[in-house]
Amino acid sequence: METVINTIIGALVLSSMYILVALGFALLLSIMGVLNFAHGAIYMVGGYICYQFAVEFGLNQWLSLLLSTLIMGAFGVLLERVCFRPFYGDMYRTIVMTIAIVLVLETTVNVLVGVHIRSLPAFVPGIIKAGAISLSAERLVTFFIGGVLLLGLTLFIKKAKAGQQMLAVSQEPEGAVLQGIDIFRISAVACAMGCALAAVAGSLMGAIFELSPFMGDYMLVKAIQLVILSGIGSIGGVLAGGLIVGSIDAVLPLFASGAVTQAVGLGIIIVLLLIRPRGLFGREVT
């Protein structure tokens, strides 16, 4: 019984972590229609920058998280201007560009600090024990942060003017322009937000797990799984996708070896997509 409770909690927490990582990616894909392969690399750099401020410069860790978020947000604006804008609408060249960015970011970090094993100290140290449940405090905090950000982003898209503009641009760019929406400015805002979210995820994950120049690769695939399963076009749907993927990853390894878990997990996702080719909550894509 104790294992069951801990497993359920583990599944919820892992789902929230995946959702946190996927949010920035989901924003850019669902709302801006940009397949940002560099998301994993940005997530990784965000984590390392937080480490730099928190451990090397000795600042308060939450402050470092904020600084990392701001820096990566600014980087997102730069990214949009230099890398995405020239290839607006050209999927192929955008893909090549994002892959090039991944190479540059990963190689730079690897060459600078790759040899040093780094892990952020826990944002909230300690273990919470309640009866049979044993959970680290930082995972619980991450769970809440993930939930809050998901809710916040969903509300932003629904209610905030900028959010609605982003939605308009992704659904019908020409119509949006006719409405007087500055596509490029909105793209910059979306990109900044996407990168900022990635930085938050990277910093939190960097504390729970550890920092490595290639940590983004695995998380990128998870984010893609999540977003595609949830369907492009729905931010709130990321919750469902996250719960499914997180639960699979938290429960299956108890019964089967790692490889079987991966095969079965992917199989489940593929089957779900075959049943609903647009994802659980997605909209039609041209």
Binding site: Y92, G267, I269, R278
Partner: protein, 327 residues
């Protein structure tokens, strides 16, 4: 006007035939000039990847951007390698078997995935590519799993030069086949479907059938390249066929120029040979790779194959400008 256009097209075609023949002749004579077995080895890898990249392009022009192509290559490789190592079958049997096995899987997968459009297809192909390796690990008795399949019998006793000629032959065969398919009616229909599936189906074209066909043919050739790779490299491991490998193949095609048949050929060659020549950069090699990618997408809208055309039109353009500026 029409005469000049036709003659231009004909001369363009002639130029292309001359170019391809020249490249072929140079390739055949290459081992006479280049003595280093290591460089021949690099060329062998390039040839294998050219087949894979060109086959990826065929699938891509039918409107399906596959991000799991290396997964299909692994099917061909492990089938051929496993049969050769465990059952002792000879290479000339296992290679076609590997290719056919990949094609069969691709057709099955194609039927399943044909309902998925655009980016969903791409992402599911990505999952498939990863899933194939996971299944590979589950069958580790046959495939060796993460440890890899070691000791696949090599062809031609491992002679780099003999393998080189074999790969030239295989590449020429594959490219001819792919080119023929692309230019015949089937190929034209494929491109039409990619352009607008609504229009295509309204004219009565069985869109699903054509897309599955593209998958089958494309994956036949990547399976072929994988099977040949198995018998050359003798070592198969997941790291040769993972998501990164699929991305690399895609980059070869996109940087070379997806609009042109020669695109994957040029892209693969440049992106394999240049980093190999600059091995001494060690951990910095990816910078070089990224630099080539960035330069190409910024400066060459048609990819690397468009470069000669661009230079010619730039020269022509500056000549025109000189004329107009003449007093």
């Amino acid at each position: 006007m029409i005469e000049t256009e036709i003659s231009l097209r004909a001369s363009g075609r002639l130029a292309r035939i001359v170019a391809y023949t020249a490249v072929l002749v140079i390739s055949l004579l290459l081992p006479l000039w280049i003595r280093s077995p290591y460089l021949i080895h690099v060329f062998n890898l390039t040839l294998i990847n050219i087949i894979a990249a060109s086959s990826l392009r065929l699938i891509a022009v039918s409107g399906q951007l596959s991000l799991g192509h290396a997964g299909f290559m692994s099917i061909g490789a492990y089938t051929a390698g496993g049969l050769a190592k465990h059952l002792g079958w000879a290479a000339w049997i296992t290679i076609p078997v590997g290719a056919v096995a990949t094609m069969i899987v691709a057709i099955l997968v194609g039927y399943l995935f044909v309902r998925l459009r655009a980016i969903y297809f791409s992402m599911v192909s990505l999952f498939f590519g990863i899933g194939v390796l996971a299944v590979n690990q589950v069958c580790e008795k046959f495939t060796g799993g993460y440890a890899g399949l070691i000791g696949v019998p090599v062809m031609f006793a491992g002679s780099k030069v003999q393998n080189y000629y074999f790969f030239i032959g295989l590449t020429v065969f594959s490219l001819l086949a792919l080119y023929r398919i692309e230019t015949c009616r089937i190929g034209v229909t494929l491109k039409a479907i990619a352009q607008s599936h609504l229009v295509a189906s309204s004219v009565g074209i069985n869109e699903a059938g054509y897309r599955v066909f593209a998958m089958g043919v494309g994956c036949f050739f990547v399976g072929l390249s994988g099977a040949a790779y198995a018998h050359y490299f003798a070592v198969l491991s997941h790291s040769s066929f993972n998501f990164l490998a699929s991305v690399n193949m895609l980059v070869y095609v996109l940087v070379g120029g997806i609009g042109s048949f020669a695109g994957p050929i040029v892209g693969t060659t440049v992106l394999i040979i240049i980093p190999e020549l600059f091995r001494m950069l060690k951990a910095y090699v990816p910078y070089l790779f990224a630099a080539i990618m960035i330069i190409v997408i910024f400066v060459m809208p048609e990819g690397l194959v468009g470069l000669p055309g661009q230079i010619i039109s730039w020269i022509k353009g500056s000549r025109e400008r000189k004329d107009t500026h003449a007093p």
